[in-house]
């Protein structure tokens, strides 16, 4: 984690903001992936 943080460009405050943004985007992508994959387990019971 420390290595990844060090690889981010700019001074420390900028890296913190960038790191937070990357985490938010990664969580959002994960949620979209989970929602998509979840349809194979439960489609809400609709027909047709």
């Amino acid at each position: 984690m420390k290595k990844m943080f060090a690889m981010l460009p700019g001074p420390a405050p900028v890296r913190v903001v960038l790191g937070a943004a990357i985490i938010v985007v990664a969580l959002a992508l994960m949620l979209v992936l989970f929602e998509y994959a979840g349809r194979y387990f439960d489609q809400g019971g609709t027909l047709g």
């Binding site: 989970f34 979840g38 387990f41 439960d42 489609q43 809400g44 019971g45 027909l47 047709g48």
Partner: protein, 280 residues
């Protein structure tokens, strides 16, 4: 070599974390989404009922506030089945008019399974406080889109509204998003299902699926149960039919979308909402 093995090890660890996060989100995270939506819906549906009832009265009456549900009791025998002879006589009458849909994605009705105890009811019954209000209950939304189904059970847009003639159909999640229909397989023929809408309180009774079957075939029906299994493409289940029916559909088996579990219930009593308070 050591570095490669370490990287492979970390990859497996992160893959495991991802799978655990996925399962946790599906089983519990989605339930939190639905629980939050249901809390909001419980408030919104009371406002919707009140608005509809004032409009139905021509706007010149003051509608009582809240839900009628607490004032209504279902006559049940010792085994929990409906005593149909004790219900008010049911007919739609000559003045019957269909209700307006609230629009897709909006709260439509309150669906209650009086034969199913919630965990809270189970506890309260033990200390002598059992009440119909504590039974398993959900706010039903209009429109069966995936987005709507995240909020709770959803009424199929192309079917009549609950409490109306024809076949009114409602879908719900079996495993995720609070699993509102997770216990549908506990229903037996004769069990009551109650739906409160803006027009009144409608009592349905679960029928033996093979007897109630309008057309088409089941993959399986378990004797004595009030449910059957069909294919996801069996749209005959929700097609319109004579009489007044409520059809509930959900995924089967649990944690799979391979088949559908369905319940047919017939309308046996309808207590219309009377928007007019007693006039002196």
């Amino acid at each position: 070599m050591r570095t490669v093995i370490r990287r492979i090890g970390w990859t497996f660890i992160w893959a495991g974390v991802l799978v655990f996060a996925f399962v946790a989100y599906q089983l519990w995270g989605t339930g939190l989404v639905t629980a939050r939506e249901q809390v909001v819906a419980e408030r919104d549906i009371v406002e919707y009922f009140e608005t509809e009832r004032v409009e139905a009265s021509g706007g010149d009456r003051e509608a009582p506030t809240g839900s009628n549900y607490g004032t209504f009791e279902v006559p049940l025998d010792e085994s929990g089945r409906v005593i149909e002879d004790d219900l008010p006589t049911f007919n739609f009458g000559e003045d019957w008019l269909p209700a307006d849909s609230p629009g897709s994605g909006k709260p439509l009705a309150i669906l209650t399974f009086p034969s199913m105890e919630t965990r809270a009811e189970s506890v309260s019954r033990k200390i002598g406080l059992a009440d119909l209000d504590d039974k398993l209950s959900y706010v039903v939304y209009e429109g069966e889109s995936l987005t709507t189904l995240r909020k709770g059970p959803a009424h199929y847009l192309d079917t009549p509204l609950p409490g109306e003639p024809g076949n009114s159909a409602i879908a719900g999640h079996r495993t995720t998003y609070g699993a509102p229909f997770g216990r549908l397989n506990e229903l037996r023929a004769g069990d009551p299902i109650i739906v409160e809408t803006s027009t009144g309180i409608h009592t349905y009774v679960v029928r033996d699926p093979e007897v109630a079957q309008p057309s088409g075939n089941f993959i399986s029906v378990h004797e004595g149960d009030g449910w059957g299994i069909v294919s996801p493409s069996d749209t005959w289940v929700v097609s319109n039919r004579d009489g007044a029916w409520l059809t509930l559909t959900t995924c089967h088996p649990k944690r799979s979308a391979r088949q559908r579990l369905i319940v047919f219930a017939e309308l046996v009593a309808s207590t219309p909402y009377d928007a007019a308070p007693e006039e002196d």
